[in-house]
Each structure stands twice: as C-alpha cells, then as structure tokens.
Subunit: 233 residues, 2 copies
C-alpha cells in the first residue's frame, strides 16, 4: 500500500494571489518585485507549509505581505505546466482576493517593492503570472455579475456613483446610471444612510452600506450583469 506512495515524485507547491483593489477610478492589481536584483514584477506568492491547507496558506501569505485579514479570497485555478517555473518544477495554486484599497498599508520590507497597477496597464510579469491575472479578471467579471462581491472592493460606506464607477471599471463599460441604481437598489441589499459624501461633488451623494444580514444570506441569484463581454471558464 505505501509503496504506491513511495514510488511517486513530489513537487513544490506555491500559492500566488491576484489581489484586486479599486481606487475610485480603475481596477488595480497589487504586484511585487521580489528581492533587490529581480527586475520582474510578480504576483504575491509563497510556499505551502506542511501543516496548512491551501486557502489557509494563501491567507497567511496575504497577511504577511500586506496585513490584510478577513478579506474575500477565492481559489482561482491550479497552474502546473511542467516548465512554468524554469528552475524547479512547481505547481502553483492561484487565488484571487478583493480588498479595500484604502486599508492598504505596505507591510513589505525592503526586500519587496509593491505597487498597484491598473489591470489595463500591467508590466511584464514573472512566469505565467500574466495568464493568472487574465483568468482572474474573467472570473471576477463572471462572479460579480451573479454574486454581490463588488462591495468587498469599496469602503464600508460608499455612494451609488462610486459603486457604478466600480462596475464600470470591472466591465470596462459605462452603465446607465438610472438603470444601474434601480438595479442595485432593487436587491434591497443596501441601507441608505443619512450622511452625504462631502467634497467630491457639490451636491453630495448619499452614503450606503451593505445590509450584512442579507448579504450573508445571499449566495444565490443577484443581478444579471454580464454585458456583451466574453465570459469563458
């Protein structure tokens, strides 16, 4: 019985995370440069430790490098091309994460440089990381169309115009603001606050926050975005 195991080759197992953030204008991804000498940007990543599960490891790495905790984290895909890492064969399980960008403070040491990049203006990336980002964007679009995960990218209090800008950025389109707000509000997932946003526009827009009791309950049907866009996977 054990023989069957002993004859097998083991492999290194890495975790790489596509960390999405929204700065109010465009959808961004957090990239790092590992080490001083390395000139290639890459995703946040690390190695699986013997005592932890995959998602647990992805969360640990995310926390160590950014301080984020309790964020949206979802497994994306396992990448295992034999030559994806030219030095040592490594399987990478990619995760994608949605974070509130305003909460971000670089926890990276001098060994790591980190930067947010617009998804439409990415630098060349290490290994197959560009494939990972591309797939993550598809998945985010697919997912956000049917599950109310967009809120994970905004501050706790946000306005409808902010939310529209986020969806515009995710789908690279320009939703009609009247239809958009009707659609969003019809979910009854948002609570309108008294407070208005100051400073950005003259009139000011009402803040909303997510009704957490309802938010948790909903895993099912949500909206029906998915524009003319390509979906796939």
């Amino acid at each position: 019985m054990l023989d069957q195991y002993k004859q097998q080759h083991p492999y290194l197992l890495a975790l790489d995370s596509i960390i999405f953030g929204f700065d109010g204008e465009s959808l961004k991804v957090l990239l790092v440069k590992r080490g001083v000498e390395d000139e290639t940007w890459s995703l946040m990543g690390g190695w699986l430790q013997p005592n932890e599960g995959l998602e647990q490891a992805a969360a640990r790495i995310l926390f160590d490098l950014t301080g984020f905790t309790n964020v949206y984290l979802e497994q994306l895909y396992a990448f295992g091309d034999p030559h994806r890492d030219p030095i040592v064969r490594t399987i990478s399980v990619a995760y994608f994460s949605l974070v509130k960008i305003a909460d971000y403070e670089s926890k990276t040491s001098d060994l790591y440089k980190a930067n947010w990049f617009s998804i439409y203006d990415l630098p060349p990336l290490l290994f197959d990381h560009a494939d990972m980002v591309e797939l993550a964007i598809k998945r985010l679009r697919y997912k956000a169309a049917q599950h109310p995960i967009g809120f994970e990218l905004l501050p706790d209090k946000f306005t409808i115009p902010q939310l529209k800008k986020l969806y515009d950025a995710i789908y690279n389109t320009d939703f009609d603001k009247r239809n958009f707000s009707r659609k969003i509000l019809s979910t009854n997932l948002l609570i309108k606050l008294e407070e208005k946003q100051k400073g950005f526009s003259k009139r000011g827009a009402y803040f909303y926050q997510v009704d957490n009791s309802k938010y948790r309950a909903i895993t099912n049907s949500f909206l029906n975005f998915i524009p003319n866009s390509e979906l796939g996977i």
Copy 2:
C-alpha cells in the same frame, strides 16, 4: 536564489476525475474500487508525472482507465487539506469530465472494479471525494446553464426529449417541454435530421445533431437556465 527552493517541502500531487455520464434517465458518476482488498469506492485518480501538465495528466489517467479520449475535461478545484489523505500528505487537483456513456467499455483490469452511480445515490467515498463530487455537480449546473456543454453527455444523434431528460436530470427538475424545445432550438445550434428515433415511442422523435461549426464558435452566452437552484461555487 536556489536556496529559496531547497528549503521548501515538496508534496505528492494527485489528480482525481469526476466522470459524468447520462444513461437516458439519470446523471451518473463513474467510481472505482482500487485494489481487491479496498472496500471503499473512489474517484478515478492517479499521480502527476514529472513531464506532464495537470490537464494532460488528468487526460492520461482518464484514458488509461476508461479508454476515453477527446472528451470534455475541465479543472474543478485543488483540494489540499493537510489531512485529506491520512497516510501521506497529498494535494489533489480535481477535474470533471463529460462523456458519452454509450461509448464506455470498461478498460479496467482485475485490479479495479468500476461502476456508474446515480448522483442521487452515491456510496460512501474515499477521503474527500464526496466533497469533490458535490462541487462538481454544482459546477456542472452552473456551467451547463450558460454553455452548451450538455451535448457532451449524449450520443452524436439525439432527440429533443432525450435532451430535455438530460437537463431534467442535471437540475433535478421538470422543464416545460414546449418552452424547453423553443429555448434550445432558438440557439440554432442543432441540425434536424430526417431520421426518427425508433422503438422508444410509438410516434418516434426526430434526431438532431450539434452544428459543430457553430458549437466551436460559442463560448459566450448560451441559455439561461439556472432555475431556483443553489449556485455558488
């Protein structure tokens, strides 16, 4: 640079496949008993070899055990709980596959027993394989609602009533046959043949086949099933 690799623990990497088939009545999964002494049913699985990619390995294993080739195969999820395999820590990347059950002839040797089980009547399964099956069913439902993959489970020639029975089985519901056939035919994805099915019903139903030129072209929007069912990945 290499040090960073050498310090890391390697892990065994397995591939397990949820193989769906449709016998005309219910949706089935192909399970095996490994070895003579083992009394637990499990998914078809095997080990990653050093020179192959993940999907390639899943396809190889599928071929070796069933003879199926050129079938629908999609990565489902990577399972990596530290204790999922109690003997040796193993990461498993699960794939799901859609096959034409009529083409199946057991290629398994005496070492393996194989059987098709209804997804609503599964035996206890090895390790976390029950979780894998459950997730695969969700994914199949999610996917089949928006991509025309259902045909992969039927013979090349099939009737509309057969197709309806398949969707009824996938979603465990009973679609309205009038709305169903209108919906399906409106995709223009099917070619009506002269030939009628004999023997099953008195009147006989027309055979259809997939218009492959169109089928290949479509990765995008397809139908919009997804009934009241739970989705969520």
